[in-house]
Structures are given as structure tokens and as C-alpha cells.
């Protein structure tokens, strides 16, 4: 029976090496009025710091527009950071030359949001998979064929010969997403960034794809950043969870600790808002904050969640940005409720 066994968060070996270090990363987009006058900045990423270890899976959860994709694209060099630094295997990305960038990019697989827009409609499966190899100088036909065979086997698009000449529109949603994953794996990356890889898919196909990613992770010891707005898939997939709100990471935790006790009021609200299928749900209203996510051009002063927070400490939360507090050994929250933990 195919199944996705619950992955128990591993004890973090203390001397484990970070593959990626992100320090105080800011990505602001300039907004111009009438194409000329600067109207302000969208602070899509506003001071994000974390380490990702080799072979580790981290989930990033948060609402639409909180900066998840911007984080992914900034790490990939698609967006240019306004401030801050990214280190990949201890190499500062800002010091890389052209060849350095090419090598770096080829060691990261990217599954972009919106699988339907991700695949070029007029290319066959074979061409879609050859393209990244050509760009990265793998021109040996035998080597190309070997890699194509391997990735298609890994994503279970079989029989391979049937799929090679097909065009994306001839594939189901699940098959398209497997092709996207195959393309992300073709350069044998060390790290994978998966931006909402399953959110467009039906429940059963979702499980199939998550299991596939889990299999690749184990087989290749991949580090994975899994971006999602769906908290319930996270427990099946990652060792750690980062929760984002208003362009900042506001909670970092091992998956097990967070699932036991979410600390930040925003993460708590995400929890409350998630419905497990249960007939009891009919009888109760959800206790979730009203209102909208903050403007990233004019973010609220202090804690960005304070206008919606039911636990607000007046005079503190609405004035001062909460720093990260280490509440438990594997659990950090950027919230003034935990100010006594230092």
C-alpha cells in the first residue's frame, strides 16, 4: 500500500553543516507612480535570517502575499536583495562571478508556483528535460539520455518512451507536476526549493507528489525548502517549520514542537483556521482574527500582526518590533508575549 508515513523530526545533530545561510535579507520592490516618481517600496522581504542544513527539509507557511515566493526567488537570484546576505556552502553569493552563478544555480532545483505556467506548451517532455542540460554545458547525448531516464523513473512517468514525445497539455495535472519535478532534478541539485508544489492538485495526487518528493529527499540527501499555505501537509513533510507574516519570519520551530504548541498568535490563528474533516465543526464558529494582512508599503509600526492580534500588549506591541525570543530549545517566536524568555 502506498503511504506517506509520518516523518518524525530528527534530533538536530549539533555539528551539522548549514548548506544555506540567509542573513538579514531584505527585498524591496520600488513602486513608481506614472512610471517616473517613486511612490514607495513594497517591502516583500523585510529582514529574514535562517540556516538550512544539508539534507534538511524546512517548510515555510504563511498567507498569500507575505513574501514566500519572494524569499524563494531572492535565494535563486531571480530577485535582487536590497540588503542582507546569502551564503551557499559558505560562499557569499554577492561575490560570485558569472560562472560562479551558473554553478550555483545548477545546484538548486526550483519548482515554481503555478505548474501550468511553468511548462513551455510547445516543447515536448524530452526537450523540456534537455533544455537545462544544454544551458549548463551537458552536451553529451548519452549523458543526457541517462539523466532523462533516471529522473523520469524517479518521478514515475513510465513507460518513459510514451512520455518523451508528449506535450504538456497531454498530461494530467499530477503528471505535469511530476515533469516539473523531473526538470528540477535533472542537474542533480543539492537543494530543492518547492513553491506550493501541491496546492493546485487533488488530495490523492497531492499525497502521491509529496511522497515522491520525500523519496527524492532521502535518496539524494536533498535539502528542501517547501513553501505552502497549507499547514496540514507540513506535518508529513518537514523537520522544521518557519511561519511568515508581513515579510518576516515570526516563528521558527521543529515541526513536532510547533504542532504541539504554536506560540505566535498568528500561527495560532492559522491553526484555528485549518479544518480537519470532522462533523463537530458544524457546531462551532472559528475564532479567527478578522481584517487583512498588512500593507507591505506602509507596514504597521511595532509587531506587524498587532492590528489583528487578540493578545496585544498595548504600548509595547504597537510601538516596538518584537525581536526573536528563544522560548524552548527548538522553538523561537518573534512576539512580545514571550519577552521573559531570553
Amino acid at each position: 500500500m502506498p503511504s506517506l508515513a509520518v516523518k518524525l523530526p530528527q534530533e538536530q545533530p549539533k555539528e551539522q553543516k548549514p548548506i544555506l545561510r540567509v542573513e538579514n535579507l531584505h527585498t524591496w520592490f520600488e513602486v513608481r507612480r506614472m512610471g517616473f516618481f517613486k511612490a514607495g517600496d513594497v517591502r516583500a522581504l523585510d529582514g529574514v535570517t535562517f540556516d538550512l542544513y544539508e539534507g534538511e527539509t524546512v517548510s515555510i507557511v504563511g498567507e498569500s502575499g507575505c513574501g514566500k515566493s519572494t524569499l524563494a526567488k531572492t535565494i535563486l537570484g531571480i530577485n535582487i536583495p536590497t540588503k542582507g546576505a546569502i551564503y551557499f556552502e559558505d560562499q557569499d553569493l554577492s561575490t560570485l562571478d558569472k560562472q560562479g552563478w551558473r554553478n550555483y544555480r545548477s545546484s538548486i532545483g526550483y519548482i515554481q508556483q503555478d505548474p501550468y505556467g511553468a511548462l513551455p506548451p510547445f516543447m515536448s517532455v524530452q526537450r523540456i528535460l534537455e533544455e537545462p542540460m544544454k544551458i549548463n554545458g551537458i552536451r553529451n547525448k548519452e549523458e543526457q539520455a541517462r539523466r532523462i531516464r533516471q529522473v523520469l523513473e524517479e518521478v514515475k512517468l513510465a513507460p518513459i518512451e510514451d512520455f518523451l514525445p508528449k506535450f504538456p497539455h497531454m498530461l494530467s495535472g499530477g503528471q505535469q507536476q511530476r515533469l516539473v519535478i523531473a526538470r528540477a532534478m535533472i542537474l542533480e541539485p543539492k537543494m530543492l526549493i518547492a513553491d506550493e508544489p501541491v496546492s493546485m492538485l487533488d488530495a490523492s495526487v497531492r499525497v502521491e507528489i509529496l511522497q515522491l518528493l520525500q523519496g527524492l529527499q532521502t535518496k539524494h540527501n536533498l535539502a528542501i525548502i517547501y513553501i505552502t499555505h497549507d499547514l496540514s501537509t507540513v506535518r508529513y513533510f518537514s523537520e522544521r517549520i518557519f511561519s511568515m507574516y508581513g515579510a518576516k519570519i515570526i516563528e521558527k520551530s521543529s515541526t513536532s514542537a510547533l504542532l504541539k504548541e504554536p506560540l505566535h498568535p498568528y500561527t495560532q490563528a492559522l491553526f484555528e483556521a485549518t479544518s480537519d474533516p470532522d462533523a463537530e465543526n458544524l457546531k462551532t464558529f472559528k475564532n479567527v482574527p478578522a481584517g487583512e494582512p498588512p500593507s507591505l508599503m506602509n507596514p504597521p509600526k511595532g509587531c506587524r500582526f498587532h492590528p489583528r492580534c487578540s493578545q496585544i500588549i498595548k504600548g509595547l506591541c504597537d510601538e516596538h518590533i518584537p525581536p526573536e525570543f528563544q522560548v524552548h530549545e527548538e522553538h523561537i517566536a518573534a512576539c512580545w508575549l514571550y519577552k521573559d524568555h531570553q
Binding site: P2, D276, A279, L282, F285
Partner: protein
């Protein structure tokens, strides 16, 4: 127990295509009581939206079969001609919030005018009356009334979705069909919307058909759950039992693939894909993927009424063993 508001019998909707008819809704029957909510679930392409369109007679041009009866409030509205249907049923008694409708509001017309227009045209209300009603429904869906003066682009996705629901409620319909009302929304916005719908259900006693592929969210509102697979309604069950004790092997597998936040369960997926709706298999349409299948499954299963009131289309549950279909 409240009376039956909607009684659908042997409803069929086939689309004509070059490769043959697409059997999008195939012989669907069910009853829905006034004040209840029925969730229609199932994977993409199984016929959920087509079922809604068949009930509301919102049909594309390429129809090859459209038959059966839809008994609404005691009358078979399938017998109405198009003119009568449009005047007496659609929108005024049965309203629909279509899939992705929050993006189909007219961007250059203020919200108030968009909501008032059908009231002026269909219900023949005066401007004054329409304005009062529009204010009422805006409050019902929890939007501040000063937003009525705004244009759609000035509202967030969640607010626009509430506005489309307000629009559907304006005529005070008895039945509202919601097609994926929350799947494009944020988690918190979605939860707020479900609260609003729940409040409407309790306070105005509106009957809902909620179409969704998100079973967790469906459980916020559903009294009954119907599962569609490849154009057929293969199970109809009370929500009280469905999530834990679904009858049909497909429903059971579907539930096993839904991740849960609060419970550690092992997720499973269903290998393979649903069949094409053009020339679907003669027997049970799920047979090719079913672990329980046996010889009989190559014949089309009957719909069986079970002791707990559920209906299921599967030979495992048919104790008579007779073949009632050709």
C-alpha cells in the same frame, strides 16, 4: 425534520464533443432538505460544476443529453420552458455563486450598482427598495456598508467573494449553490467566510449546495456529503458518519488521502487516474483502481439505500445482487 426542498432524479448532462459525448453528470439522484447544506466533493473533472449547471440550467451550447427531473419545492422545474425558468427560478429562488466569480465582478461599476441591478430588473424593486435590500445583504455577509460605494478592485479577494455571496443572497433565494467559494482565498479569510456562511445558515435558514474539493472546509458547513466520481454520485451520506465511516471504497480512499493537522494518520493515495468521461467503463467506474473489486464489478452497480439513510453505488453494499441496469 424539515421538508425536502430539492429532489433530483436521474439527472443527466452530456456534452457533445468530436470524440463523443462527455458524460459529465450521469444519472444523479439525491434529495436535500430545507435548511440543510449538501457538500458535493470529488476530484477535479468529476462533474461537480456540471451538476450545478444542470440544476440551474446554465448550459453551454454543446449539449447532447439533458434529462431527468429536478423537483424544487414540489414542482418539476425541468418541465418549465426557458423563459419561465429564468423568470421564476434562476436567481430568485435558486442562486449560484460560480467558481472564481469574485474575479468576474465588473471592474468599472460600483459594488452597490452591481448588487442592485438584478433587483431592479428581476424583482422590479424601486431604487429606494433595492438600496435598502443591498444594505441588508451587505450586513449579512459582514461587509461594512461604506464599501458599497467602492469599485471591485478596491476590495481584497475575501471582500469581493463576500460581495458575490451578497449578490446571490439579495433576492432571498431558498437555495444557494456555492461553487468552490473559498479555495482561492487565504486560510484566515476562508475561515472567516465559513463563519459568515454558517451564520447565514443558522439565522436565515438558507439551503446550500457547497461544491468543493476541500473536505476539511466542507465539514464546517455540510449536513450531508455527496461524493462524485467520473460523472456519477457514488455516495450520499450524512456528514455525521461520512468522515469516519464512508461506505464506498472510493470515498474511503479519498478520506485516507486528506491530511489532518490535529491527528497523526498515515496518508494514502489512490494509484491510477479516473476514467475518461467519453466512453467510460461499462461496469463500476472505479473498478480499475479499486482494491475490493470482484467479478460482479464489471457490471454497472445499482444505487443501494442503506439502513442509516445513506445511498451508495457499489456491489459490496447491494445485498440483493440483482442487476437492475441494462
Amino acid at each position: 425534520m424539515s421538508k425536502v426542498l430539492l429532489d433530483v432524479r436521474n439527472l443527466k448532462l452530456y456534452f457533445r464533443t468530436r470524440s463523443g459525448p462527455v458524460q459529465a453528470v450521469d444519472d444523479v439522484s439525491f434529495k436535500l432538505r430545507a435548511g440543510h447544506t449538501l457538500a458535493v466533493v470529488g476530484e477535479s473533472g468529476c462533474g461537480k460544476t456540471s451538476l450545478a449547471k444542470a440544476i440551474l440550467r446554465l448550459l453551454p451550447r454543446n449539449i447532447s443529453t439533458y434529462s431527468g427531473s429536478v423537483i424544487f419545492d414540489g414542482e418539476d422545474i425541468m418541465k418549465y420552458d426557458d423563459e419561465k425558468f429564468r423568470k421564476e427560478i434562476r436567481w430568485s429562488k435558486i442562486a449560484m455563486v460560480p467558481q472564481a466569480s469574485m474575479n468576474s465582478l465588473n471592474p468599472v461599476i460600483r459594488i452597490e450598482d452591481q448588487l442592485a441591478e438584478p433587483l431592479l430588473i428581476h424583482e422590479k424593486l424601486t431604487k429606494q427598495q433595492a438600496s435598502v435590500r443591498v444594505n441588508e445583504v451587505f450586513k449579512i455577509v459582514g461587509l461594512p456598508v461604506d464599501f458599497l460605494q467602492r469599485y471591485p478592485f478596491e476590495l481584497s479577494g475575501g471582500m469581493r467573494q463576500r460581495a458575490t455571496i451578497a449578490m446571490a443572497l439579495a433576492s432571498n433565494p431558498k437555495l444557494v449553490v456555492l461553487d468552490e467559494p473559498s479555495s482561492a482565498l487565504d486560510l484566515l479569510t476562508q475561515a472567516n467566510l465559513m463563519n459568515v456562511l454558517k451564520k447565514i445558515k443558522h439565522e436565515i435558514n438558507t439551503t446550500f449546495i457547497l461544491i468543493t474539493h476541500d473536505i476539511g472546509t466542507a465539514s464546517e458547513l455540510a449536513d450531508e456529503v455527496a461524493v462524485m466520481y467520473a460523472g456519477e454520485m457514488i455516495e450520499y451520506n450524512s456528514a455525521e458518519y461520512f468522515y469516519t465511516d464512508a461506505h464506498h471504497p472510493y470515498s474511503q480512499k479519498l478520506m485516507a488521502s486528506v491530511p489532518t493537522l490535529r491527528e497523526d494518520k498515515e496518508l494514502q493515495f489512490i494509484p491510477g487516474q479516473p476514467p475518461s468521461l467519453i466512453n467510460p467503463p461499462q461496469g463500476c467506474r472505479f473498478a480499475a483502481r479499486c482494491e475490493m473489486k470482484f467479478a460482479k464489478c464489471s457490471i454497472h452497480p445499482n444505487t443501494t439505500q442503506l439502513a442509516d439513510g445513506a445511498t451508495v453505488q457499489c456491489w459490496l453494499h447491494d445485498k440483493t445482487g440483482e442487476v437492475k441496469h441494462a
